[in-house]
Amino acid sequence: MVLKVYTWLDERLGISTIYDLVLDRKVPKVNWWFTLGSASLFLFLIQAVTGVFLTVYYVPSPDHAYDSIQYIMNGVAFGWLIRGIHHWGASVMVIVVFAHMLRTFFMAAYKYPRELTWITGVFLLITTLGMGFTGYLLPWNQRSYWATTVGTDLVGTVPIVGDFLQAVLRGGTDLSAVTLARFFSVHIWFLPAVILILLGIHLYMVVKLGISSVPKEE
């Protein structure tokens, strides 16, 4: 019965073709460093799912942000678990994505014909850092408030347009409700959308070109 349903679906969707191309593709003999990409993808999915769950209770307003997170941590069943995974997963993701970049760099896997994989990967690293930066403000506690104050101050030192860029980031001259709202929006809409597009290209390139093998000594 299950087989029948599967065959019916497969005939129309081509699931087995996708499976063969994506998961059963030929790969060179590689080592554990080559798992960092999959680990990054897995961490992204975890962050996405736990993030969606956090928005059920989190309110991005100075009046409610801190209290709503206190409520998630102490009031809601398993809220501590979901925010804990999101909180620690964020740090782990930055580390893993960065290690993934280092592996690609040191093994020279960015060379022809994989330049686009590398370029999208660099932007994925930057957006990951952007997620970390925007997410850091959302708890609206002392640490996140002042970290974002300093972080946006840095932008102000850019020659000529610095003040303007800083005002754009903050949504005004000071950190305010506007800042919190736009950081939230960027954190849950803009950056995830950019990540999905880049990730699509990145993974397509990986599947299409295959991965490079471990460099051999001369």
């Binding site: 409610h64 709503s68 009031g75 398993f78 809220g79 678990l81």
Partner: protein, 163 residues
């Protein structure tokens, strides 16, 4: 029956994966469901017995106002509502007590006891209720809400219901 079927490696791996996958699904899924439905499991009681003090506080024959507040917690927000109830001891008997809400049944203004009129007067539209809470005059559609009362260890309680 005993037509022994030899489990090959693929089947074994598939069964183990399905088994472990189900466990992981439950371990991940149940907390997720618990997280989502949690507020529904913590709804507060809208009614309760409330102490309004010893009978000595209430002179016999005179409706006397008792004010109290009730706090409701929704998520991280607390809402404090204040309520008033008129307690009347009719006689010396401990259980001969009436308790009426001071909310006018017309548009929820607060009624006050007027000794001269011997009635509860609503300041908004001149609704008048007698000492039994029944409508005497004015626009109120029904009698004042009456609460159940009891006396335990020399303290009067009313069974408070919202709305």
């Amino acid at each position: 029956m005993a037509r022994s079927h030899k489990l090959d490696r693929r089947e074994f791996v598939a069964i183990v994966l399905a088994f472990l996958g189900s466990i992981m699904g439950v371990v991940v899924g149940l907390p997720a469901i618990g997280y989502l439905i949690d507020p529904a499991t913590k709804t507060q009681k809208k009614e309760d017995w409330i102490s309004v003090g010893p009978p000595e506080n209430y002179p016999i024959g005179t409706p006397t106002l008792f004010s109290f507040t009730r706090t409701t917690v929704n998520g991280w927000e607390k809402t404090v509502n204040s309520y008033g109830v008129y307690i009347t001891r009719w006689t010396d008997a401990v259980d001969d007590i009436s308790a009426f809400s001071n909310l006018c049944t017309h548009l929820s203004c607060r009624v006050t006891w007027n000794e001269d009129e011997m009635g509860y007067i609503c300041p908004c539209h001149d609704g008048i209720f007698d000492d039994q809470g029944e409508v005497v005059a004015g626009p109120p559609p029904e009698a004042l809400q009456e609460y159940e009362t009891k006396v335990e260890e020399d303290v009067i309680y009313i069974y408070f219901k919202e709305g």
